[in-house]
């Protein structure tokens, strides 16, 4: 192994880094401003924090440099021994099934732990959103930064229909999906001719437009106050409450509020699995193949006679529909929705889940949703630092594994044997 730079050079790098950090943090951290009681700005100094931050950067750079020497140059092609490869594929085959069985048993195991059940419902909601967005981003390769708009359309569809007309959840659920899909097509039309980054920014603008309209159209949506008193879901018409008509009374068991939570858990699990099943089936249909072809190379797609217009529109509509389902579920679970739940941060979070999971991999998306939402919960006590950590994690993950956790592509069409290849080797067309 080649000897790396010596101690003086490491110290020099660390010193320069610390100096940069000192300038960067000098005013932003060293001085704290606050508006006083009379509106007059006051400030006080925080040199202690400043010094400790700069010291942390100094120490951190030394550690980083040492690690870099021990690990060796990055970017080298990593060869995986065949034994490890077959072991990985063995685990890969059974981990999904094991995870599914465990998920099915969660309400049984944690029946008395309301907190865990609530968290599990939240995780499953994001798994469903991730799988829905995966159709657009992972399969069709269309970068969508405004996915939360469809989530909002679904939530408001159910919220408004249920509170104004008293329609039941089971009638509204398909309607929410259809409405969201309709909006997906509506968004799809203007962006048909756009590619890559333009597409991203237009979808972002679309998401913001939907949110701003919800805030401003007060007569319909209640504006910033949101919609409250959204009815809870019923067990196909039988309410889950403590009345004589309730499910508990009909079954002759003692009523417990946990019944509703467990029901919600299985409801979102079913919806998420529906999303997964539909995606897997669609991948085998011509339309799914067209999506994947579009992701790899749009020009080649056109040359082969694939209608890129319908291909893109169906991808948007399908992804949006699942977002709409998830939105309707969100509304019925919360009982209250407001525009605050549908900010750009949500879109970015779902997108981060999809990309971290390895775009196109269903299992990867589920695992990364678990990691992300679980990680968010771990940092709940550090309320204001949470998004800071989230942002840093996003940057670091991109540097460490730009292709996500499970970054391989299994071809859907093959001659004799499907060889999964690392997605690092796949060069995507700029579609």
């Amino acid at each position: 192994m080649k000897a790396g730079p010596g101690i003086p050079s490491i110290l020099k790098t660390a010193f320069v880094n610390a100096l940069i950090a000192l300038v960067l943090f000098s005013l932003m951290v060293g001085i704290r401003t606050e508006a006083g009681a009379s509106g007059q700005l006051t400030y006080w100094t925080r040199f202690g924090e400043l010094v400790s931050l700069v010291a942390a950067v100094f120490g951190g750079s030394i550690v980083l440099e040492l690690l870099r020497q021990w690990i060796g140059p990055t970017g080298a092609e990593k060869l995986v021994p065949p034994a490890v490869k077959s072991g990985m594929s063995f685990i890969g085959r059974y981990v999904a099934a094991a995870l599914l069985i465990f998920t099915l048993l969660v309400p049984v195991i944690f029946y008395n732990q309301r907190y865990i059940l609530d968290l599990a419902i939240l995780v499953l909601t994001y798994v469903m959103l991730g799988w829905g967005l995966n159709v657009v981003v992972g399969l069709a390769g269309l970068l969508d930064l405004g996915y939360v708009a469809f989530y909002a359309v679904g939530a408001y569809s159910y919220g408004l229909l249920a509170t104004n007309f008293g329609w039941s959840f089971w009638v509204c659920l398909p309607l929410a999906g259809i409405l969201a899909a309709f909006w997906g097509v509506l968004l799809g039309f203007p962006v048909l001719r756009l590619r890559g980054d333009y597409l991203a920014i237009v979808t972002l603008a679309f998401g913001e437009i939907i949110r701003l309209v919800i805030i401003n159209w007060q007569e319909l949506t209640g504006g910033p106050n949101g919609v409250s008193g959204i009815p809870r879901p019923s067990f196909f018409g039988i309410p889950l409450d403590n009345s004589d008509d309730g499910l508990a009374a009909k079954l002759g068991i003692e009523y417990s509020p946990t019944h509703r939570i467990v029901f919600l858990f299985y409801l979102i699990l079913a919806l998420a699995l529906l999303t997964n099943w539909a995606t897997i089936r669609l991948r085998r249909l011509p339309i799914g193949r067209a999506w994947e072809a579009l992701r790899e190379d749009e020009v080649a797609c056109r040359a082969l006679g694939i209608n890129t217009t319908t291909t893109k529109l169906t991808a948007f509509a399908t992804g949006a529909m699942f977002g709409g389902f998830a939105g309707a579920f969100f509304a019925t679970r919360q009982g209250f929705i407001s525009p605050e739940s549908f900010t750009f941060q949500e879109s970015a979070l779902v997108l981060a889940i999809v990309v971290l999971g390895g775009m196109g991999s269903q299992l990867g998306v589920a695992l990364s949703a678990l990691a992300m939402i679980g990680g968010f919960e771990l940092f709940r006590s550090l309320e204001t630092y949470r998004m800071l950590v989230f942002g840093m994690a996003m940057v670091l993950i991109m540097i460490w594994r730009p292709r996500g956790l499970i970054g391989h592509r299994a071809p859907t069409v093959y001659l004799t044997k499907a060889n999964a290849i690392s997605s690092d080797l796949v060069k995507e067309g700029h579609g």
């Binding site: 940069i20 300038v23 960067l24 000098s26 005013l27 932003m28 951290v29 001085i31 704290r32 401003t33 606050e34 508006a35 007059q40 700005l41 400030y43 970068l143 203007p190 962006v191 001719r193 756009l194 890559g196 980054d197 333009y198 991203a200 920014i201 237009v202 972002l204 603008a205 679309f206 913001e208 437009i209 701003l212 309209v213 805030i215 401003n216 020009v299 080649a300 750009f344 941060q345 970015a348 997108l351 981060a352 990309v355 775009m359 204001t384 630092y385 998004m387 800071l388 989230f390 942002g391 840093m392 994690a393 996003m394 940057v395 991109m398 540097i399 730009p402 292709r403 995507e428 700029h430």
Partner: protein, 305 residues
């Protein structure tokens, strides 16, 4: 008519600020081919640094306003430029040859880091400053008492923008650095073969973009009198809209787009409704991209197989 003229002035001032931010977007997009999502937050950081420098200078007992302004301008440009450089170094350079979504997501992450960093460091509340530059001119007073005002701060914003644009145009068209930047924009590999330090050129692009964003942040602070940690997001999207509207990659286009967005937003607020002004700006983006995907002054992108 008087009302219209007044709104025209307001719109041009707002548009100047957007234009300065948009230049940062369009430069980076032209050279690296990525949306620097964190650029709006760099603008916000610039505003914060200007605010803090103001506070310190005033508490030191300085009273000469031109001197204060000059020092604030230089300090906030310098520190914000260092922010731009660091961001490129940490979040974008390792990903330069990665697949196309990676830098974009890294940029979104960086944007979250900057937003929440300033929230943690400086608190979530809006920070007001007392008006520094007061006074102005009454251009015209109509019979029904409506007055067209042109305030000194508005004049200052436009003058600084014009001066900076002239400087910047000179930099891009006449200096060694500008030539390197244009070379990297066309073909990075070829530029490297001909002895252009590509890494350094890209770093300098981020530094210049951040410095211009810092000026925009200072002007926003002076014009509106407040900064807060969230102002970078909306301003960033609008500036990007401006860059796309003008034709991304084109520098005069960015300024033109900035002015257009500023005017659209101001007139929409004046004649229709304030609540929907952002909706109007974003709808313009979508409409422009449908009918003119390359923007007003952009070159059509030819895709090769």
């Amino acid at each position: 008519m008087d009302y219209f003229t007044q709104q025209l002035i307001n719109g041009l001032v707002l548009g100047s600020i957007y234009g300065l931010i948009a230049i940062g977007y369009t430069m980076v997009y032209g050279i690296v081919g990525m949306i620097n999502f964190a650029h709006g937050d760099v603008f916000m950081i610039g505003g914060f640094i200007a605010l803090i420098t103001f506070l310190i200078l005033i508490s030191l007992g300085l009273t000469a306003i031109p001197l204060i302004l000059l020092v604030v301008l230089l300090v906030s440009m310098a520190i914000t430029a260092l922010y731009g450089w660091t961001i490129e170094r940490i979040a974008y350079r390792p990903l330069r040859h990665s697949f196309r979504l990676a830098p974009m997501l890294s940029a979104i992450g960086m944007s979250f880091v900057l937003t929440n960093y300033s929230q943690v460091a400086q608190g979530a509340r809006v920070k007001p400053i007392p008006p520094f530059i007061t006074g102005g001119y009454t251009l015209h007073e109509s019979t029904d008492g409506f007055v067209i005002q042109l305030s000194n701060i508005q004049i200052m914003v436009v003058v600084i923008t014009v001066v900076l644009l002239a400087l910047f145009t000179w930099l891009v068209s006449r200096t060694r650095l500008g030539r390197d930047m244009r070379a990297c924009e066309q073909d990075q590999t070829m530029a490297a073969l001909l002895g252009v330090d590509v890494d350094r050129t890209i770093s300098m692009t981020f530094v210049i973009g951040a410095a211009l964003a810092a000026v925009a942040g200072l002007m926003y602070l002076l014009y509106y009198g407040t900064v807060d940690f969230f102002m970078g997001f909306v301003a960033g999207i609008k500036a990007f809209t401006a860059a796309v509207l003008g034709g991304i990659g084109s520098l005069p286009g960015a300024m033109l787009g900035g002015l257009a967005i500023g005017l659209i937003e101001t007139f929409w607020s004046a004649y229709f409704s304030v609540g929907y002004k952002d909706v109007a700006a974003f709808s313009i983006l979508i409409v422009v991209l449908i009918f003119m995907p390359t923007g007003l002054l952009g070159r059509p992108e030819v895709e090769k197989v």
